[in-house]
């Protein structure tokens, strides 16, 4: 199978415009005869559903949550990038493109990334027009902040709830179309298969999570905006329900799965507190604008802190190791996520972790309090030498910037982060890998599209902060609605797709068979029991640092765990009712397959790139060693068992950017 990325010809800056000028369009009258299914209602799915409906298509949208507003995009905190250059600090479309390709460790597709940077400015205009209340300066204009891996301030934000505000914007656009009858919304519905007719994606099979009913839905095209698969690690910052099922079923129906091993381990999360833990909580990267990361310089101080005979605030500046500032003076605390995470692991592994488990570092705001406080005292004509006053003034400023995050931290950890530094540790957060798509965001299955985190295309081996929101909305609002027209223009005479065909019947029968097995298995252990064990294998052997030996044993262990799961899982209740355990069982069954492909991909990629760090490929200083021979996308074709998947390579060429060592020193 040859992978055709369908990148348009011509200079990179003109590709998207020229392409849009020449693709086929569907006239408004014909759009009324075309149905599109959108699965997932996060930033990508929600914005796509709304825009397709505005254009005139009949949209059926699906989410497993009780309302489209609850998709996990809601939890994104820090911000959204756009090359507006409102700050006049040298930003441009090219610079956003450059930062994103470099940040992704030269493993993303140039043309897609350039387009993303190009449409980024439209997103901000669009969202403001929709009434998204971004943070503003006193002059009434939009405020920006800075994120990791860049040297400009291009991140727009709404306190620590940017994802929430953007998602509510997309949700409101959907609501308008639901009200007009152009979107038919299916809440609490889970997609359990894609249906192909004559090789084209023509529908899906869903389960109504309230009644258990299995339903057939047809359309002329199917769009998956179903997010990432970080929950394969059990513990992650993803929501409990976030899953790979839709993407995995698409993979099993022929869609290639690209770069599954590219996972983002986010450096600033609240450390694990015990075995009972069900999920991890992110502390936004934006905190690294103002927080400084450190561990004690001496092991004796680490011990004293662990024994509670020393408080971190008592440790003098000379006895602290601000290791990011030390190792990466140019970017300091704002190095990209992969670099910051590995550095935290390096210090913790060396014994400098500051909590009971030895897996935590400090994120300290003391100097930010004083810096902001001094400025405030100066503005207000107060005593700049009164440290207590300055600290208080500074804390108020920090509270307006990150108040909700500080509150969240205090509630979880039971410590006041205004008085003592936060403790943080890396956690699984985002997956750069996903369904392989071409420039049109179509998978290799005709009529099946993947957008947002569910696809692989824009972030390479590492995503920069505040770029997920940008990509989700770019795909949904501005890219897919154009490119899908080119495909659907062939369908204007097709007429409605029937659900009474052998293809739908067969797919439905398979779904039912799977459910019957799970319900009637009556094993001894709950779904979570297996999920936790899978997560442990993934974290220990496919986590922040990987090596061939561990990956090989992970493949064996996951495959064994999968057989054990099918023999011994216990799903209570019946299939004809609200049954969360049944829904979870289906999702974990798919994670147990994906996990193996993930390890296989990580084993095959003999280099370190972005979030994928192979211990065999590092410099003596512990920096990643990328290898030219791996400058390609790994797209895996399903062939039965994950171990039998076949690798297809999409070579990556860089014509507008010089591939060089990725240095943040």
């Amino acid at each position: 199978m040859a992978l055709d990325s369908k990148i348009p010809q011509g200079p990179i800056a003109d590709k998207w415009t020229n392409y849009k000028n020449h693709i086929d369009l569907v006239n408004p009258a014909n759009k009324r005869n075309i149905d599109v299914i959108v699965v997932g209602t996060g930033l990508a799915g929600g914005s796509a559903a709304a825009t397709l409906a505005e254009l005139g298509y009949n949209v059926k949208a699906f989410c497993f949550q009780d309302s489209p507003r609850r998709a996990h995009s809601i939890a994104a905190q820090g911000g959204i990038n756009a090359a507006k250059n409102y700050q006049g600090d040298g930003d441009s479309t090219y610079r956003l493109f450059y930062d994103t390709v470099k940040g992704g460790d030269y493993r993303s597709r140039e043309a897609n990334v350039y387009r993303l940077a190009e449409v980024s400015t439209n997103i901000i205009d669009q969202c403001v027009a929709q009434g998204v209340p971004f943070a503003r300066e006193y002059g009434g204009l939009l405020d920006n902040r800075s994120f990791g891996g860049v040297l400009v301030s291009r991140t727009f934000y709404a306190a620590g709830q940017t994802g929430q505000q953007l998602l509510l914007g997309a949700y409101s656009a959907m609501n308008r179309q639901i009200g007009r009858g152009k979107i038919k919304m299916y809440n609490r519905h889970e997609m359990l298969d894609v249906v192909k007719v004559d090789g084209k994606a023509r529908g899906i099979i869903t389960r109504n999570l309230i009644t258990g009913e299995i339903e057939r839905h047809s359309a002329h095209a199917v769009v998956l905006g179903t997010g990432g698969y970080g929950n394969v690690f059990f513990l992650s910052t993803n929501a409990m329900g976030s899953n790979v099922t839709a993407a995995w079923k698409a993979h099993k129906r022929g869609a290639n799965f690209a770069n599954p091993c590219y996972t983002q381990i986010h450096p600033t999360c609240i450390p694990v507190s015990g075995d009972h833990q069900s999920k991890l909580t992110l502390m936004s990267e934006s905190l690294r604008n103002d927080g400084r990361i450190w561990v004690p310089k001496h092991l004796k101080d680490v011990e004293a802190i662990k024994n509670k005979t020393l408080k971190p605030t008592q440790l003098s500046e000379e006895d602290r190791d601000y290791y990011l500032e030390r190792r990466y003076p140019a970017f300091g605390n704002l190095v990209p996520r992969d670099v910051a995470s590995r550095a935290a692991k390096e210090r913790s592994d060396a014994g400098f972790g500051v909590n009971a488990t030895g897996e935590a570092v400090y994120l300290d705001f003391a100097s930010a309090f004083m810096r902001y406080g001094k400025e405030q005292a100066h503005v207000k004509g107060l005593d700049e030498d009164d440290d207590a006053l300055v600290k208080k003034l500074g804390q108020e400023i920090v509270k307006t910037k990150y108040g909700n995050l500080f509150q969240m931290y205090e509630k979880i950890v039971d410590e006041n982060p205004y008085e003592t530094p936060m403790m943080i540790y890396p956690a699984v957060h985002y997956t750069m890998g996903g369904l392989w798509v071409d420039y049109n965001l179509m998978t290799n299955v005709p009529g099946l599209y993947a957008i947002g985190e569910a696809n692989f295309s824009d972030h390479g081996a590492n995503r920069l902060g505040a770029s997920a929101l940008m990509q989700g909305l770019a795909d949904g609002y501005f890219v897919l609605p154009y490119t899908i027209g080119d495909y659907l223009s062939d369908d204007i005479r097709t007429g409605p797709i029937s659900i009474d065909t052998p293809e739908f019947e067969k797919a439905e029968a398979e779904v039912r068979k799977n459910i019957d097995h799970l319900i009637n298995n009556k094993g001894t252990h709950s779904v979570d029991y297996f999920h936790r064990r899978l997560g442990k294998i993934m974290w220990d052997k496919c986590g922040m640092a990987r090596n061939a030996e561990d990956l090989k044993s992970a493949i064996t262990e996951i495959s064994e765990l999968r057989s054990e799961f099918w023999k011994d899982v216990r799903v209570p209740g019946t299939e004809n009712e609200f049954n969360e355990e049944l829904a979870k069982a289906g999702r974990v069954a798919d994670f147990l397959e994906l996990g193996e492909l993930f390890a296989k991909d990580a084993l095959q990629r003999e280099e370190s790139a972005g979030g994928h760090f192979r211990e065999e490929y590092q410099t003596p200083e512990g920096e990643a060693v990328r290898r030219k021979e791996f400058q390609y996308v790994s797209a895996w074709e399903y062939k039965g068992e994950p171990k039998d998947a076949i690798l297809h390579k999409e070579e990556l060429t860089y014509e507008n950017i010089k591939v060089k060592e990725r240095s943040y020193k």
Partner: protein, 248 residues
């Protein structure tokens, strides 16, 4: 910690439902309330009993999925948190904890502690938006400066997570705080002015049709709101509604 749990069990919408007692032990004070329920469910499943159904997803206080009326308070005794952010250290060893679903005519029970909150979606569909197409060709975002205070207040109103605690806490099951928050977000912004009249009239009409009660200014909603949405939003909703009614 050892605890006694009294939990509402109801098989489906048609079942009558009842309180059932459970004993649970070895609970860590660092667990979240939902993690405590996970422990209970795991025990129930391995014993062959039906686990307790409850809505939850992000477990970091932002998706608005989790609910639970705990010891007579929406999201439990702590303030400014959702149930998923409520930690067991808030309770005492040996305590009895009563756990019920949201109770409101407009939020029918689906199963156990899970309720149907789609009434909130329908209110939003009636007018909770600005009618602007996603062409990407709107005016530049900085063309209209917005006073920081207005932008901040619009944001504060927009932080509502749609959990329904306001309705569950209100003796009249009123949704005025929820609707007030959305109306306020747009009323405070210049973009929202164009459709202000229709928006408030349509949203309030839908709210009434869904069977939510009237507001009698007791303020329980504000106290129990996990996001601290202020009663000022209800006052603003009333002003917007009055002026829209006079116009309309």
């Amino acid at each position: 910690m050892d605890l006694t749990l009294k939990i509402w069990r109801q098989k489906n919408a048609n079942d009558k439902g009842k309180m059932v007692d459970y004993q649970i032990s070895d609970i860590s004070p660092d667990m979240s309330f939902l993690e405590m329920l996970d422990v209970l469910n795991n025990e129930l499943i391995e014993k062959g009993d039906a686990p307790v159904s409850f809505d939850h997803d992000c477990r970091e206080g932002i998706c608005g999925s989790c609910s639970l009326y705990i010891n007579g308070e929406a999201h439990g005794p702590d303030r400014l948190v959702t149930t998923c952010q409520l930690h067991m250290r808030t309770f005492k060893d040996g305590e009895t904890i009563v756990i019920e679903p949201w109770r409101a005519k407009a939020f029918p029970v689906i199963k156990d502690l899970v309720v149907d909150r789609t009434a909130f979606d329908r209110i939003q569909q009636a007018g909770g938006f600005i009618s602007v197409n996603t062409s990407g060709n709107t005016i530049d975002a900085n063309t209209i400066p917005i006073e920081k205070e207005d932008a901040d207040n619009a944001f504060m109103a927009a932080t509502c997570i749609g959990c329904g605690a306001c309705v569950a806490s209100c003796k009249n099951s009123s949704a005025m705080l929820f609707v007030g928050a959305k109306v306020s977000q747009f009323a405070l912004l210049p973009q929202g002015q164009i459709e202000a009249t229709d928006r408030v009239l349509n949203m309030v009409k839908q709210m009434d049709e869904e069977g939510f009660g009237n507001c009698t200014n007791t303020g329980a909603c504000e106290v129990e709101c996990p996001k601290g949405i202020s009663l000022e939003n209800i006052a603003r909703l009333n002003r917007e509604y009055l002026s829209a009614s006079l116009k309309g």
